[in-house]
Symmetry: C2
Subunit: 362 residues, 2 copies
Amino acid sequence: MLTSSDDQLWVVIMAGGSGTRFWPLSRRHRPKQVLPLVGGTSLLRATLERVLPLAGAERTWVVTAAAMAEEVRGQVPEIPADNLLVEPEGRDTAACVGWAAWRLAERAPEAVMALLPADHLVEDGEALRQGLRLAARAARQERGLVTLGVRPRRPESGFGYLQLGEEVTLAGGGAVRRVVRFVEKPSVAVAEAMLAEGGYLWNAGIFVWTVDAIVDAIRTHLPELAGRLDEMTQAARHRGEVSALAAFYPRLPKVSIDYGVMERAASVWAVPVEFAWSDVGSWEGLAEAVGGADGVRLGDVLGINSDGAVLVSDGPFVAALGVPGVVVVATGDAVLVIPRAASQRVKEIVEELRHRGRHELL
Amino acid sequence: MLTSSDDQLWVVIMAGGSGTRFWPLSRRHRPKQVLPLVGGTSLLRATLERVLPLAGAERTWVVTAAAMAEEVRGQVPEIPADNLLVEPEGRDTAACVGWAAWRLAERAPEAVMALLPADHLVEDGEALRQGLRLAARAARQERGLVTLGVRPRRPESGFGYLQLGEEVTLAGGGAVRRVVRFVEKPSVAVAEAMLAEGGYLWNAGIFVWTVDAIVDAIRTHLPELAGRLDEMTQAARHRGEVSALAAFYPRLPKVSIDYGVMERAASVWAVPVEFAWSDVGSWEGLAEAVGGADGVRLGDVLGINSDGAVLVSDGPFVAALGVPGVVVVATGDAVLVIPRAASQRVKEIVEELRHRGRHELL
């Protein structure tokens, strides 16, 4: 049993996401999670501060990619240097989770590992910690994979959903629900039907499991990844982690933990939580999460007759007049103008810049 | 009679307009007329090149204001230093015309003076020069005030109109029409009625008169201005022009030449011309004058699904997606986003910046 001091709970924050969707503010070396998007602080910093009361700096790891490691390191000064895991390159989330799990198996084989994305918005830190504590107990009791499920507030088509099955009461109090199906980003109509039917939660991508359980699950469902992680761990013992990473990490199979493991695993459980949550997946997502009727105003900006506009600058002064619902983002070297509803399409611009060889803007 | 060599025709280019309407590209020290808005060249430079074949550099004067004199001087290197007339401050067009006329009366009392705004777009230079030559003959013959009138191409509500009366044939060939009424910027309905009725031209603000005629007209209709110009001229003889200007110019009454003189004068004549003309009064005006279906693209910009958008940058890269008909103008320190149809309202932004004391952005 996990003690009340959570002394076997370790937290792994995934901070390796790339910077496409918040271009031009986000860049290769300065991705979304390090940007001061909400209340003057970064999503990464806010994530860390929410979990420090739970695991402390010594038991908190941050995984990131080499391109953005410097920015990330600067934002998490309290965690030990050895707790920053730097991927030579991003290999999707299963590789990231696998590396952390194999590494944790060496250091604390009895640990419960909580995995959190660095770039999500959670408004109630205490509710999150309560959810994680309950999930940790469930992970011990059921030896399964546990995910936090957020009560849906609207028929959002941009999120994934969990369909709930049987309820199991935990020994220490509280209950979890079996996850019987994952529903990837549905149409609005399907989302509305799920909300009407009930028994669905948003998949927040916040996972809790014992080290044993996730290692076993990866061995079962992603044997190739498991084999290479074994080799990498072996190599690290002999010639050090940096060298082993350089040799093995870029060859790890690229697959998401959701698709590669969660959707295939037999024992998956959900802890229903109530806090306001958003994956802040686009400028529109940011506006929905934190914008009022005015929209969003960050930096030296002026909006006239522009209700709902997202006006952001970390460089030039921005003046918008008569453009409600438009996103304007300005930096010293690039400006984006796009309707909120189309803000996912910023990827097309980034793609075009890559195509044109404008690497200085990526 | 003016000879065929135009050797008594002097040209005065008014280049003192302030930089509000093309903000943020235009500024106090860098107004619209010096910006490379069309074909990589400035409207001032294009204006000068159109009239040089007519009057030569020696008989071409450029009037500007102190705040923008340096920029203007850099764009007209071929005219003699003494031909750049620098107003200590702008006092509207009647003062500008009066100063030039009083000064020309000292140097070439027999001159015919052609007055052109520096910030208009004229596509056919030879047609303009033909119009000016005919206007010069008319100015001699009728001793009146002559204006070039552009055949209207659409019921434009942003321009002034001239209502035409009797036709008078000139001794050397050609004819002019008496102007019986000025119509200030009309409603679209009124403009449509005028086009249907016929007998109206756009007032291009390009005027031709003998020095005698304009001095007389100012004495008659703006006696206070005339009196102060007499004093200023007297002072210039005794203590030099710079000192006289500093003392007298800021006290000249502020009134436009159109309202103060043209609309009140008895003998006003129009030379109908056919060339494409625009006063380029706003970003929308620029787009109408030179933009295709795509809109306007100037500088390092990318438009996707943004037909008719005006995308301009002299600084950061600008990417616009899904915003047809929107104006985006970016400089190193400021960005404007406004619908084309509202682009006259950029004044509100400039006013707000002044109100907030953001003088570095003006």
